[in-house]
């Protein structure tokens, strides 16, 4: 996976233009991954505390 966008300066030398836009998917994926992991953790925790009470 590319990390950077590349371009050329006025002398034709390669330069970094910024981050690769494919990392947009990584940013969204990281956010969603936190949500899924927390949601599972929360469900397990609620289930175990429900069992302890009953």
């Amino acid at each position: 996976m590319e990390l950077f966008r590349h371009g050329h300066d006025v002398w034709g030398q390669p330069v970094v233009d910024g981050l690769a836009w494919s990392l947009l998917d990584v940013a969204v994926g990281a956010g969603l991954a936190v949500i899924v992991i927390h949601f599972i953790y929360r469900a397990v925790k609620m289930n175990s505390s429900h069992k302890r009470r009953s």
Binding site: V16, L19, H38
Partner: protein
Amino acid sequence: MSTHYPLDDANRAARDAAASSSNHSLGPGDRIERHAAVDRVFHWTTALTMFVLLGTGLLPIVGIRFAWVEIHWIAGILLTLLVLFHIVRSLVWQSLRTIWIRASDVGELTGKKAPGKYTLAQKLMHHAFTLALMTAVITGVLMLSKVRTPFLERDPYLFTEKTWGIIHVLHDASALLSLTLVIIHVYFSLLPEKRMYLRAMVKGWLTREELKEHHDGDRL
């Protein structure tokens, strides 16, 4: 009745909580101010500005094309002013102790300690947003020199192309980090067990009961 419980006056908040537990002169439904009106306006204005910046910055990348540059830099200036306002307000009128991470906060993870005004997770979220927004604002202000604005002479040669590359990488990274943080922040704010914090950010208050159940008045 609403008891004043400002973010910036930790001692008063601690005294307030201690007084309520000792004399019970106020009922459990009493409202304790968690966020002053000015801080709530700051929060929601910042949120709106962030959505505008993320939308104008990232939608063109996914193929939704429109004239985004002018909206983006105007919103960026608004965000810069909001960040400056928040820095001044937190340094002059508020207590940094309430948001600063301390070694004792680790006790929250084991459930041995209740959090002070903010939970460890809220503090971490705040620091992550601070990192992202400070980076976005500093690099964004520098990038203003590449845009035609009514108040600045356009000068795209202010830095070498190599330096511009670094500035762009940092600006892009702050945008992507902000996007991840916004997704996580919105998710946690909508959880039923965290709904009281969302209400506090809308209406300003927690009940005394909520404060006693979830926070430690002595650590405020």
